[in-house]
């Protein structure tokens, strides 16, 4: 499976397998749930949905108004988080970096909460306000954590800076939550744990746009990131305009984190683990790791979300709880295996 260097074939085969797995999982996610829908009835339901839009049965509503948007949201959020994680890890040459651990998700959540509170006073679309504030929060948090933990060659310092920032912002978030009224509080608390149940068309559009833009920018920097991953100073002498690469990658990863958190809350571990698993199977070259992490993150989040809404159906768990339940032991295993 592993080659001495990356070639075109290896990339296409790996991405094709991941895409196939993702499509397969999407079909599984469509059919299972509190109302089980057999695979055979998907096609007639699709025809019904496309042709008779205004007279839909219960099955069509479940499939195309509830499950399909939620699948799309899980795919978008998971892909964005894993992509942001892979980018942060390479840029900061730190395999422990991830939007959640670095406090960038907390920054995005902080921004989003400020956005929700201020949106009530503003005439604009509340979801747009939330997304913009979330991106701003993520950007400020990444700038802060980078300044705090900048020293080269000390991965632990950066993670420590992230943990400090993360706990600080979490307390601020709790503080702000005590300022809003009860009903909204309950929703925000759930959403902070990572909640994909509320797949609005607007959220889907934001996350889709952010994902395309972020992936596009990061792919142009994939080769430079291969060098940054070895060392920023070496990358500089090997021909990378390191300042430009750093800005582009930080901006793209903050955008992805902001969009993901605004749409689905702070889902942990996807950004940390997906790139690890991808590198384990496919090597460390970012020209493959970045797109593969996007697909892998989408797949993992979709699996987690499908579990979240089926294991104690008809009640639901927050998706973030499942990713943490699966992710934390896996992460400990990977840590131990590295020794």
């Amino acid at each position: 499976m592993r080659r001495a260097y990356l070639n075109r074939n290896h990339v296409f085969v790996t991405l094709a397998w991941l895409t196939a797995a993702l499509v397969l999982m999407a079909f599984v996610a469509l059919t299972v749930g509190s109302e089980s829908i057999p695979l055979a009835s998907l096609w007639p339901a699709l025809k019904q949905w496309l042709t008779h839009n205004n007279q839909l049965g219960e099955r069509e509503v479940i499939l195309f108004s509830l499950r399909l948007p939620r699948i799309a949201l899980a795919v978008g959020v998971g892909a964005s988080l894993a992509l942001a994680g892979a980018a942060f890890q390479a840029l900061l040459r730190n395999p422990l970096a991830d939007p959640h651990i670095l406090g960038i998700s907390s920054g995005a959540a902080f921004g989003a909460i400020v956005g929700i509170i201020t949106a009530a006073q503003l005439p604009f679309a509340p979801n747009l306000t939330r997304a913009v504030f979330s991106f701003a929060g993520a950007s400020i948090a990444s700038a802060l954590v980078y300044r705090l933990g900048r020293r080269e060659d000390d991965p632990a310092r950066l993670v420590l800076a992230g943990v400090i920032l993360s706990t600080f912002l979490s307390s601020l978030n709790v503080l702000m939550l005590s300022l809003v009224d009860d009903v909204r509080l309950r929703n925000i608390t759930l959403w902070l744990l990572g909640d994909l149940s509320n797949a609005l068309t607007e959220s889907l559009l934001f996350i889709g746009a952010a994902l395309l833009l972020g992936l596009g920018v990061l792919l142009t920097q994939a080769r430079a990131l291969n060098l940054m991953m070895i060392g920023a100073r070496e990358a500089f002498t090997l021909g990378v305009e390191t300042t430009r690469t750093r800005w582009l990658v930080f901006a793209a990863a903050s955008l992805l984190t902001g969009a993901a958190v605004a749409a689905g809350g702070a889902i942990g571990y996807v950004g940390l683990l997906t790139p690890h698993l991808i590198r384990l199977i496919a090597g460390a070259d970012n020209r493959l790791v970045l797109p593969a992490a996007a697909l892998g993150g989408a797949l993992l989040t979709l699996v987690a979300d499908t579990l979240a809404r089926t294991v104690i159906a008809p009640r639901e768990l927050p998706t973030g709880a499942i990713t943490a339940l699966l992710g934390a032991p896996l992460f400990i295993y990977l840590l131990l295996k590295r020794r």
């Binding site: 260097y5 991965p155 291969n226 070895i230 500089f236 002498t237 390191t242």
Partner: protein, 264 residues
């Protein structure tokens, strides 16, 4: 032709590190840079590749001011070899060497067959081809050093800047490495600026030797001119014996005694 010129270069942090260094590296020569710890050797090298900029004075790379080159242009002209960092990701030695092709390739896309062949040739040149498929972070420090040098060769520069390239190498690889650098200067007309603490290796392989002491250039010339008892004793504050290698007739430096004092 001068590949790299330092002209009255000053640099310092809270106190001066380099004070008015003027030095040039020519095509086809090995220039060894000797000096005590903290003399400013590595700083000079960092200035030479642009990771630091001088406070006063100027640096030219093949006639053009270094600051006016894009990073890709600079990387096609000069390659830096330093001690390798740990790599926290599972890169193979070959992938590591392929990063040396960055400045020659499109920013986006895959490595061409030519890139891969150049990288493999560079690994063969540094006697590292047999671990091309192994993970970089599983190699010993001496093996890593050869991979780092291979990456610099894959970069196809006109000038090599080497910061203690032999530091972790065994005796055979120390000699092989400098012989390779010397061969490249002869065959391909490369220039090489080598920081080393191995005075005898410098004497054997360098065309010129520069002595840096407390941020100033004390002497620069052929090994026979520079590696004298009086100069070396002054710099290293240790009594040293300089005689001739009977085979090569190059200066040979050894200790007078274990205490570093000249017997009366």
């Amino acid at each position: 032709m001068n590949l790299l010129t330092f002209d009255d270069v000053h640099f310092g942090y809270d106190r001066p590190v380099l004070a008015g260094v003027t030095l040039e590296v020519r095509a086809g020569e090995v220039l060894a840079l000797l000096g005590t710890n903290g003399a400013g050797k590595s700083t000079l090298l960092q200035l030479g590749c642009g990771t630091l900029t001088p406070h006063r004075g100027s640096i030219h790379c093949a006639g053009e001011p270094l600051t006016q080159l894009t990073r890709r242009e600079a990387a096609r002209r000069l390659a830096l070899v330093t001690q390798a960092n740990d790599v926290h990701f599972p890169l193979t030695a070959l992938e590591y060497v392929l990063t040396g092709r960055f400045a020659h390739a499109h920013a986006f896309g895959f490595d061409t067959e030519e890139d891969v062949e150049l990288a493999r040739q560079a690994l063969r040149d540094t006697d590292a081809a047999h671990f091309a498929e192994r993970r970089f972070n599983q190699l010993s420090s001496g093996e890593r050093q050869r991979v780092v040098l291979a990456r610099a060769l894959a970069q196809q520069p006109q000038l090599l800047l080497l910061d203690e390239p032999t530091a972790n190498a065994d005796l055979a690889h120390q000699v092989a490495l400098l012989a390779l650098v010397q061969r490249l200067t002869r065959e391909r007309g490369l220039g090489a600026l080598v920081i080393t603490h191995e005075i005898n290796l410098a004497a054997e392989f360098a065309d010129r030797v520069a002595l840096l002491h407390e941020g100033r250039l004390l002497a620069c010339g052929s090994p026979a001119e520079v590696l004298t008892e009086s100069l070396l004793t002054k710099i290293f504050a240790t009594a040293l014996l300089v005689d001739r290698n009977p085979h090569s007739d190059k200066p040979r430096v050894s200790f007078w005694s274990a205490k570093g004092q000249k017997p009366h």
